[in-house]
Amino acid sequence: MTGRAAPSVYRGRGGQWAFVTHRITGVLVFLFLLLHIVDVSLIARPDLYDEIHELYGNVVLRLFEVGLLFALLFHSLNGLRVVMVDLFPGAIANERAVLRAVVVLTVVLTALGGYVIMKPFLDGRIFT
């Protein structure tokens, strides 16, 4: 064979996507945690805390909170799947069904929670 060797990229199926998504959601939640420690710590000056905290109620940040819920749910449920496979290697036989359950539960719970979070906006109580 001439030229460069084929790239040695592992091409997995569902499990590979779950692995990548697990890492991305993990990093995003960690970054939010860093921000969240700072914004909660403003409580030392309550009026400043309230001023900044009000921002979390606007529609853009509400959408961001729905994204956070998605990341939390996926990372939690997929993490549970990883622990399950570690503890019960026999479960690998049902790997694909379990992964599908993780995805479906994540989407359904995000939709339900997202509806509650966006409700004030949907009701027209907030416009910004």
């Binding site: 960690f30 030392a44 309550p46 622990v83 004030p120």
Partner: protein, 134 residues
Amino acid sequence: MSAPATARPMTGGEQLQRRPRQNFETWSWIFMRVSGLILLFLALLHFAITHIVNDVTDTDSRFVAQRWDNPLWRLFDWMLLALALLHGLNGLRWIVDDYVRAPVARTVTKAVLYSVSLSLFAYGTLTIVSFDSL
């Protein structure tokens, strides 16, 4: 619990060890499973209280003050702070090891990661401990 195979090459004549020695990476692996299971409850419960049961706009300083009147909620929040930071820190350490290959860049990335995490852990702990009711 089945531990991951440790990279311990067997040399000639060495007896097969039933239990591999538990090194730092094994403990880090176990910690991720245990803290992950605890965080699943802490983090989702925390999110549910502050975004589902209450609207986010209601969780103002009075809400925080009322909750932190109870030392158990302070403990809850501190556990969440500590476990989430450590769990995330360890996860990022794995990610840095996977993708940042140049030795200098890796050392610098980890130094920043550890300093930021440690500072925010101290800051968050101070916030929870030192808060005086309104």
